[in-house]
């Protein structure tokens, strides 16, 4: 398994502001992922964060809105920019572990409320 921490665990933010979420892993991983889980919904992949290259965004998500940094193999940040109430969600980072078929492990999530 993997030990993954996220900061902050929750926040309440004003419309129009930005929040940066941090994800720390207990050991080096090649790929990290950021997901969004809107209230009562399943998880939607936002982007894949690879160290040393730009993040790869899924359809419907853009870098200007969700800039991602991956400065090293144990850490990543996701920024939610120019927030609106529709951005209220749980944001989760995840990593893959294993060889061949990878198991995916998640951080505890950051619960964001935008007022």
């Amino acid at each position: 398994s993997a030990v993954i921490s996220q900061k902050p665990s929750r926040d309440i933010c004003q419309r129009g502001t930005s929040l940066t979420i941090q994800c720390q892993v207990d050991s080096q991983v090649t790929m990290m992922f950021w997901y969004r889980q809107q209230p009562g919904q399943s998880l939607t992949l936002i982007a894949t964060a690879n160290q040393g290259s730009e993040a790869t965004y899924e359809s419907g998500f853009v870098i200007d809105k969700f800039p991602i940094s991956r400065p090293n193999l144990t850490f990543s940040t996701l920024t939610v920019s120019n927030m609106s109430p529709e951005d209220s969600s749980i944001y989760l980072c995840s990593v893959l572990r294993g060889t061949g078929s990878y198991e995916q492990y998640f951080g505890p999530g950051t619960r964001l409320t935008v007022t």
Partner: protein, 112 residues
Amino acid sequence: SQQGEEDPQALSIQEGENATMNCSYKTSINNLQWYRQNSGRGLVHLILIRSNEREKHSGRLRVTLDTSKKSSSLLITASRAADTASYFCATATLNTGNQFYFGTGTSLTVIP
């Protein structure tokens, strides 16, 4: 985008009964994983089944995979109140490498 669909969306059973949840997906997969999410909490990895496997067990959990029908099932035997949670399947598809796409989830309530 979501790859999988789970059914039922919600399930309510008595403690001690078995719970079965199904997941259907659209494209060929590399593997499929099941997760549990307690209300307001993070996701817990339950079990991974590879595309060349048909059945896996882990404690009270039994997962089956039918690649011809593009479906998987999760069986929880002798359910407990603590099993109350949402359960999701996630697939890693052949053409997306290691990216996982989640199903819609099944909300399970186990009544003591």
